[in-house]
Amino acid sequence: MLNVKDLRKYYGKTTALSGISFHISKNETTAFFGPDGSGKTTLLDILSGYLLRYRGLVEYTGFRDQEPGTYSKKASYIPAKTVLYQEMKASDYLEYIYGINRGKRNLNSEIRKMSELEETGITSFLGREISDLNLLEKKEMMIAAELLARPSVLLIDDPFEGLRSDEIDRMSLFLRSIQDKTTLIMASDRLMGFSDLCRQTIVLNKGKIVSSKDENLFMHRKHTNSIRLKVFSSPEDIRSAFQFVPGIGEIDFQMSSERNLLEVVLYVDTEDDIRREIWNAAVNFNIPIYEMRTMQVSPEELYLQMTGN
């Protein structure tokens, strides 16, 4: 569906994107995560055809015209922090977006056909002015308006930005209900709301992809579990003791706040409980264990680790 190869974007001497590559399949929901300035919005600007100057390849397979700025006819874009036309009613906005996206069918029948829109309650606020809508309603309206023209790709920048947690749940449900209708590509600086949505997650930091290929932050199990030990031993003995314990990956050492004790972090790449094997290995090497704690690295922690925060 979408192939991006070695995409680079510079704003003067500032590098916004430095050679990123990825692939997104048809109807696959993908989220780009990254802190402010990581290049997410620039990336969406390019994928939408808004920004025309960049280096590298952006290729939508199945689109007749690959010229930047023309594939936007199939890729709809909902930017973040948009000041909408306050004088319009929600229904006028839908009509306007449907019109500029050259929707051919009768708008009202299209709205009726989209049962997903009923779930959002959008039909109840169609008659209200945009200035009277809350943020969630505005976002739902913007997404619904773009969906009506049936885009092949829907790009949404920060769909949960500024929403309360209950509103995030509602928006997440809405996005899940439209997943099979289009290829959904989103970007955000936070993970909240995305956990059950994304087939693929890509983490950006300083214009580079810092997550592994085909890695999903929410499905990640490898290296996300760790076991912390407080032991009376040396790093060499620890490595010798645990090198043959199945499931232990990397081993990190930290100074313990308790005198003479060493804090050990064992990164575990199995879902099995290996505490018994660790205990036995320590006993065999005569390593006294003062404390053992299993640690679950949450997607948020993993994300923060990736982005260096």
């Binding site: 920004l51 909902i78 930017p79 319009m88 009509e95």
Partner: protein, 235 residues
Amino acid sequence: MKALVKRNLKAYASVMLLYIFAAFLVFYIGINIWENYFTESSDHMMKIYSDMANILVLFIPLLTMGSFTLEKAGGTDRILFTSSLNMPLIVLGKYLAAFTAFSAVMLAALIIPSVILMMSGVYFAEVLSMIIGELLIGSAVIAFGLFISSLSSHEYRAFVVTVAGLFGWWVIDTLMHNVSSQAFKWVLNGVSIFDKYQLFSNGFISLSAVFFLLSVTALFLLFAVQSLLIWRRKR
């Protein structure tokens, strides 16, 4: 494009400043007509009509200043520029909306003076020719205003520059009537637009003036398209 024209017209209809200006125009025209109707000849009335037409042009920067600046400032340019409309259609849509709004206000403001002119012995054809001239000048100035709006991201900056441009054109007209050098006069005549109105106010629909004003309109609309494309390509 119809949706774009409709949205922009609705936006114009919601701006209080435009109503105030339109009301002021009608009021100004009414006062002038009342003062001069019983005392002056129809020639003088024609002069007032011509002056009012020039004042009407001042209305245009108010219409065009936000055409692209507000889209850029509000972030809706991303939605508009990535829609199915290409840049020439977007510019044309904005132009048609501004031209429709201008025509509506102009016709509303000139309807009473037109009737009075006809009652004072001026033929309908002459009045019609003046209205056509005014519409064509308005069209050229709207295209110029859109071009200025396409260059900026600040509404009031676009307004000031458009007004300054109009002032420049008036200066050109004044200079044209006062310079002795024929060559210089010829050059100034080539870029003057308000002077073309004189042809229409004499009751003639000059084809060369029509062609000139339509060309100016097309030229500035093309400039607007190009400036927006360059702005996007430079980003």
